[in-house]
């Protein structure tokens, strides 16, 4: 068997990568200290070598999975010969060990990109940043090699594997972790460069402009990752929720909020030379929170405190890594904070002031979510009480912060840098009030909900203000505005698309929270329930058999005013290998409204549990979110923000 060697090969490359990372974390740092060009250049080579070794290890693990080599424990526990090829491959990262390997692989990739794109960087800064990147690598590789080895052997070799969790056998989820990790790990660049800049004691505009695209990439991928998770939950979990304030979701959302603050403050630093401290702290925070996100999901700390103590080896390692990275970074900040210059003065009513407020609000929002997510854990740890913090908490705390944030999002982009006055904003505020009043009234007339109407009004105000800001930049309505439109830097387009995306997302969220219709009932064949004017009828139940699961498919016909508008097929899948049942909802996706039906357990005599939903505007949520992600990618191509100005 060749596969026997492949596993060992992977093991060796992994250990070599650890050694290389160790050298990378020390030598370039010494080189930068002594101004030794050769030692500094070693960072470049080590970063490349580390990536190549990790890629080989990852390929080795993939081959082992594809070949269904059950002598490797990870494959035996997580795979099965009957599994479709796609899921054999996604099984590589659908478990703790493999996902950690994917994590360091992406870390290695970002590291290897530094020498390629960082030719213009000061040699010392680059060497130090690569050294820090190396340290992160050492931490993770040691974690993998010593506590979570993906190539561990199993003896005796089982005849077949235990299969992969069927919930993970879904294209949406198969590619969800890689995107999330590209986001999480992408923030390691911000972290490494923040630490390097702190060591050098210089955080300037050149640094900010170089780092900005990386923050944008990380942030955009994280946005996509979170969105995919939300879409997956919507159609896979079978009850039509798009966001449930579940700890696993929250821990990916917290770094997103910190990352959003970071990319705004790094823009200010690049343009106006202020907010250096904010940028550094947010860079450290975004990465630390990403670490928390990675670990919480994988170690299961949050689902239950118990699993943490069950595996104390990993738990202690995780805590140590977090404390070293964050504590180390913040200690360094404390030592160097006085060296970071404040930049030019600005008044509160200015673009800088607005962005400062934006940062504060985003931090408060992040802290709110953090508190809500971890509070139950703490209570459980200190007493024997078990509490759960659910949607009502988040609605009441996170909601208002977001509303204030959106209110300022409408004004911020219109304010001038450095110094502005409220009087110059008055005309815009008056017009905005009219927009809000008109849209709110119209929506209330149509939708009969005060809260919903106000929320849509606010979204309309955001979209209007964003368009006004864009219009001012291109001198809309004047001669040559088309030319100006073309000449706008990518960052302006990024701003426009992102803020419009948020407005669209807000409309979707409002639609789902206020006008959603739902009903659940046990239906026999031919019976129906009515939701928001739509009649859902259970037509038939058909059994079926697929490669790795059995299924029961229920056909639900939806009628409105006597006309058939949709035939929804929902199925329950039973995975014999894992002894698990999953529900696939039947969904008709439309721009304005989704019809959603889930058929649950039941039998001929008593009928089947049918859940029927009408989801207005839900697609807008993901459309808006993906628009913001796209905006991040667009902004990367801004020449003015990239590299030193020439």
């Amino acid at each position: 068997m060749y596969s026997a060697m492949i596993s060992e090969f992977g093991q060796i490359t992994l250990i070599l990568a650890l050694l290389v990372a160790a050298a990378q974390s020390v030598l370039p740092m010494i080189g930068a200290q002594k101004n030794d060009a050769r030692l500094m250049a070693f960072g470049d080579r080590a970063a490349t070598a580390q990536f190549v070794l990790l890629a080989l290890a990852f390929i080795a693990l993939t081959i082992v999975f594809v070949q269904s080599d059950f002598s490797t424990k990870l494959v035996a526990v997580n795979s099965h010969t009957d599994k479709p090829m796609l899921y054999k491959i996604s099984g590589v990262w659908g478990n703790h060990e493999g996902s950690m390997l994917l994590w360091v692989l992406i870390l290695g990739l970002f590291g290897a990109l530094v020498p390629i794109y960082g030719k213009t960087l000061p040699a010392g800064l680059k060497a130090r940043a690569l050294a820090v990147q190396g340290m992160v690598g050492v931490g993770f590789l040691a974690f993998i090699v010593f506590t979570s080895n993906p190539f561990e052997r199993l003896s005796p070799v089982p005849i077949n594997g235990q299969g992969l969790n069927p919930l993970l056998q879904d294209p949406g989820l198969a590619f969800h972790p890689p995107f999330l990790y590209l986001g999480y790990v992408g923030f390691s660049m911000a972290f490494s460069f923040a630490i390097a800049a702190l060591i050098e004691g210089r955080v300037d505009a050149v640094w900010a402009r170089w780092l900005r695209p990386w923050v944008l990439i990380a942030w955009s991928f994280l946005t996509i990752g979170i969105t995919m998770g939300s879409i997956w939950a919507y159609y896979e979990l079978g009850w039509g929720g798009w966001w449930m304030w579940d700890p696993v979701e929250n821990v990916s959302f917290i770094p997103w909020l910190a990352g959003t603050a970071l990319l705004h403050s790094i823009m200010v630093l690049g343009k106006r030379h202020s907010m250096a401290s904010w940028t550094i702290l947010l860079a450290i925070a975004a990465f630390s929170l990403s670490l928390v996100g990675t670990f919480v999901v994988r170690s299961g700390v949050l689902t239950s405190v118990h699993s943490f103590a069950v595996d104390p080896e990993r738990g202690v390692f995780i805590l140590a890594l977090l404390i070293l990275a964050t504590g180390g970074g913040l200690t360094l900040y404390a030592l160097r904070a006085h060296k970071l210059r404040g930049g030019p003065e600005f008044t509160m009513v200015s673009k800088e002031g607005g962005l400062l407020l934006n940062n504060l609000l985003l931090c408060v929002a992040a802290f709110t979510v953090f508190l809500g997510t971890f509070y139950p854990l703490l209570v459980e740890a200190f007493s024997s009480d078990k509490i759960s913090v659910g949607a009502p908490y988040f609605d009441r705390t996170f909601g208002p912060v977001m509303i204030v944030l959106v209110a300022f999002m409408g004004i911020g982009p219109l304010v001038k840098w450095r110094k502005d006055s409220w009087t110059s904003l008055k005309p815009h505020l008056l017009k905005s009030a009219v927009v809000i009043a008109v849209v709110t009234t119209l929506t209330f007339w149509l939708g009969k909900s005060v809260l919903g109407a106000l929320s849509i009004g606010l979204a309309a105000y955001l979209a209007y203000s964003t368009c006004v800001a864009m219009g001012r930049k291109i001198k809309f309505g004047q001669v040559g505005s088309l030319k100006l439109l073309k000449a706008q830097p990518a960052a302006v387009w990024g701003f426009f698309i992102a803020h419009m995306g948020i407005a669209i997302c807000m409309v979707g969220i409002t639609g789902m929270s206020v006008w959603q219709g739902s009903e659940a009932k046990r239906l026999k064949l031919g019976e129906s329930i009515t939701v928001s004017g739509y009649e859902f009828t259970l037509k038939s139940i058909t059994p079926g058999q697929e490669a790795n699961f059995q299924k029961m498919t229920g056909l639900v016909q939806v009628q409105k005013d006597g006309e058939i508008v949709a035939n929804l097929r929902s199925s329950q899948r039973f995975y014999p290998v894992r002894d698990m049942i999953t529900t696939e909802a039947g969904i008709q996706v439309r721009f304005m409204k989704n019809l959603y039906a889930g058929v649950g357990e039941g039998d001929l005599e008593t009928g089947w549990v049918v859940r029927a939903y009408v989801h207005p505007l839900v697609v807008w949520i993901w459309l808006g979110a993906l628009m913001t992600a796209l905006a991040g990618f667009v902004s990367i191509f801004d020449r003015g923000q990239r590299g030193p100005k020439t």
């Binding site: 702290l281 450290i284 700390v301 239950s304 405190v305 118990h306 699993s307 943490f308 103590a309 069950v310 104390p312 738990g315 805590l319 977090l322 404390i323 964050t326 504590g327 913040l330 200690t331 900040y333 404390a334 030592l335 160097r336 904070a337 006085h338 971890f374 854990l377 703490l378 459980e380 740890a381 200190f382 024997s384 078990k386 002894d579 698990m580």
Partner: protein, 183 residues
């Protein structure tokens, strides 16, 4: 080296958070509140899941070392634990009493039919009658009851093969050495 107080604030906040978590997370959650250890198993009388006409009570627990395991068909972590319990049952390692908690009879039975039934008997506790007197905080949770019917050990969370081997089995062996006769 010059340091400012302002620069120390973030580090201070982080240390505080870290401290709280370090204390919170390293506390061993499987430790039982001391008032139940060495106490007799609380009196109860619950219907047998597979034979609702007959009742199971605490007398079932005397005479042998028993693993009392709280589970429910709704409990995801129980799915995780189940294979281990089945292996224990197959190897005849210990007498097991299952407590089907906050469940319906139908679902509980179906869950056991589908996954195999490792329990010698299963008591049905839909209304948390026993669960409350046991101070159960979640499922799965397991108790070791000695031959005299006293609780000697509690484990919170799913039992894995490793946990069984390293933590619970030694205690079981020790308990089996004890004589059950004298009061």
């Amino acid at each position: 080296m010059k340091m400012t107080w302002k620069g120390l604030i973030p580090l201070f906040i982080f240390s505080l958070l870290g401290l709280i978590f370090a204390v919170g997370l390293t506390k061993d959650p499987s430790k039982l509140p001391s008032q139940l250890i060495d106490e007799p198993f609380p009196e109860f009388s619950l219907p047998d899941l597979f034979d609702p006409e007959t009742q199971i009570d605490q007398t079932y627990l005397t005479g042998q070392v028993t693993l009392v395991n709280v589970f429910g068909s709704w409990c995801v972590a129980c799915d995780l634990e189940h294979p281990t319990l089945r292996r224990l049952a197959a190897a005849n390692e210990i007498t097991m009493l299952g407590i089907d908690w906050r469940d319906t009879m139908e679902k509980g039975k179906r869950w056991l039919e589908r996954g195999g039934n490792p329990y010698d008997r299963v008591a049905f506790d839909a209304d948390s009658v026993l669960a409350i007197s046991l101070g159960v905080t979640g499922a799965p949770e397991s108790f070791l009851v000695d031959k005299k019917g006293r609780i000697r050990y509690k484990y919170v969370g799913p039992i894995s093969d490793k946990i069984w081997r390293q933590e619970i089995k030694p205690i079981v062996l020790a308990l089996e050495q004890e004589t059950g006769a004298n009061p």
